[in-house]
């Protein structure tokens, strides 16, 4: 199945990429997507995750076509 990945703010800069895209077997979680995209790097403890524009837990299971995003704590307003 196909997964699209996006990184924002300080994570985008530290990882050196804003987007990623790859094929994954089924029954993968958001955490697995992070590992695949970062070549096994540890996820910073305060990282926030979303799937298709909704906040999710890192254990959330992804499905074909999902957009998975990772970003640091938000600082708007």
């Amino acid at each position: 199945m196909s997964i699209n990945v996006r990184f924002f703010a300080s994570l985008r800069e530290s990882l050196g990429k804003a987007e990623d895209s790859f094929e994954l077997d089924s029954t993968n979680t958001v955490k697995d997507v992070w590992s695949r995209s970062t070549e096994g790097a540890d996820m910073p403890v305060n990282t926030l995750c979303s799937v298709n524009l909704e906040y999710v837990d890192p254990e959330h299971t992804v499905k074909d076509g999902d957009e998975v995003a990772f970003f640091p704590p938000v600082t708007g307003g």
């Binding site: 703010a9 979303s50 909704e54 995003a69 970003f71 640091p72 938000v74 600082t75 708007g76 307003g77």
Partner: protein
């Protein structure tokens, strides 16, 4: 209305223009307004500029969710959220939140709720420019 702005806006002119078009004239007795603007200092350092990044799509979706939650808790007649992204300077407006209700308690409480939820959960990130470096703001102040 919810709107993400990539260029400078005048919150008072925006508020006037929006209020002029409101169809609820005579129905509201209270307008609750919050305007957030950029400081030229943070954590003891001079800040000369700032870049505001966001997650297009998720930002709007999350702000709509906040307004929906506010509408479930208070009898609001209308609401307005404008938020800047892009390159900003000290004194530029970052955010305008306005709510309209029959009585003041709802206007005060709902505008505060919307701002606090926005700051805690809406996907925006600030990067500050200091005199000789840049840095990401790691967390918002508690209030």
């Amino acid at each position: 209305m919810i709107s993400i702005r990539e260029t400078h806006f005048d919150p008072w002119a925006e508020l006037q223009a929006y209020t002029d078009k409101l169809s609820i004239k005579g129905k509201y007795g209270a307008t609750g307004i919050f305007v957030g603007s950029m400081r030229d200092f943070n954590e003891g350092d001079d800040v000369t500029a700032m870049t505001l990044e966001h997650y297009p799509g998720m930002t709007e979706k999350y702000l709509e969710k906040i307004v929906s939650q506010a509408n479930q808790q208070w009898p609001l007649l209308d609401s307005l959220i404008l938020h800047r992204v892009g390159n900003i300077k000290p004194d530029d407006t970052i955010v305008l939140v306005a709510v309209w209700s029959a009585h003041r308690a709802s206007a005060f409480d709902a505008s505060r709720y919307i701002m606090e939820e926005l700051k805690s959960n809406a996907p925006f990130w600030k990067k500050e420019t200091l005199s000789d470096s840049t840095r990401w703001v790691e967390k918002n102040t508690t209030g």
